[in-house]
């Protein structure tokens, strides 16, 4: 058993992030399970497609939540190394998202 002790600010942050991510994963799991059931029932293809895709999108956003919260906390604690790295990671993920949106857009005719 881990001895009881006062949680450090970083541990408090991790717990908060953990709850947030778990909630998002649970919502995603419900949507994915619902989408699969509808798909197997074979009647409401549009609805199942929507549920599956929304579930996957929420899943993909889950780690981004963690980075955003890490950025905010690093600003609060004024940890400059942490601020710089988390902000740069957020930039990379934003670039990925913009590239993906650009790829998914139908070409102009």
């Amino acid at each position: 058993m881990t001895p009881e002790r006062t949680a450090s600010p970083m541990v408090v942050l991790q717990r908060r992030l953990g709850r947030l991510m778990l909630g998002a994963v649970q919502v995603s799991a419900v949507l994915l399970a619902g989408g699969l059931m509808m798909l197997l029932a074979g009647r409401t293809e549009l609805a199942s497609d929507w549920l599956l895709r929304t579930g996957l999108l929420i899943l993909m956003l889950t780690p981004v939540l963690r980075i955003i919260e890490a950025v905010l906390d690093s600003i609060r604690t004024r940890d400059w190394l942490f601020i710089a790295t988390t902000a740069a990671v957020l930039l990379v993920l934003t670039a990925t998202l913009l590239l993906a949106l650009n790829m998914a857009r139908p070409p102009n005719r």
Partner: protein, 298 residues
Amino acid sequence: MAATDSDHSIRLRHTTNAPAAALVPITPAVLAVVMAVGALSGCLGALLGLGGGVFLVPFLNVVLELPLNVSAGVGLMTVIATSSVVSAGSTGRELVNLRLGMLLLLASSGAGLIGALTVVHLPDRALFGVFAAVTATICAILLTRLDRRNVILDETAYLGPLGGRFYEDESGRDVVYRTRRIPVALCVSAAAGYVSGLLGIGGGILQVPVLNAWCGVPLRVAAATSAVMIGATAVASAPLYYARGNVSAPLAAAAVLGVLVGSRAGLWFGGRARARWLKLLMAFVLGAVSLTYVLKLL
């Protein structure tokens, strides 16, 4: 698993950018198998901090004969799911070194994005070769460095800017560690991110052994920190696979649901297994994956 027109199966329609994955038969049996393998992958992934992709991708590619790009797309989704569950499950145990994780994530996410952009220009045989080489290398590293605990029992020791402290069950007390060779960790994280972007297997496959064997990070800390990182690394690649239509939504959903169950089981086992046995298990699995891809190349 070739599909025929007489199959009473639901055929998945991919978006326009996925010619290789134009038709995949989605039957209840296929979904059940993918879910079961996802559960096993999630369990092993959570146990070893790797993400389930390294086990699931070869299964989809070799056994179900899905194109590697579709297998990688599904693999990335399971890596994100494993990462989220393990990250949430390891909170409060002070095992995650978030400062170290974010620094290494900068290298791995950037490289992951490059990997996802370049994968379309590489032939399958090159990817199989990368798969075989990476898994064989890590297997060898693990087998030659099985006894690295990396913990410092003197709690007053200098930890450096990226060291940490955690309660270790094996010694029954607080222990500390110092992270060494940061440039090595950064280079390996970049390589791990690139491999993750190419193969959809999650960067943990490289990061965990190297952080443990060369950078002074205890295995449990390396696994927990890696588990947080691999999800964000996968997010640097997954949207591009999704936009290209390389993510089969029903297969990804089945695998993710399996992974969510398996990851919880892996966390339970992980708290009870000894580090040496975890390393041996990881080496055995990686050796098997490497051999599979060597055979595919022959």
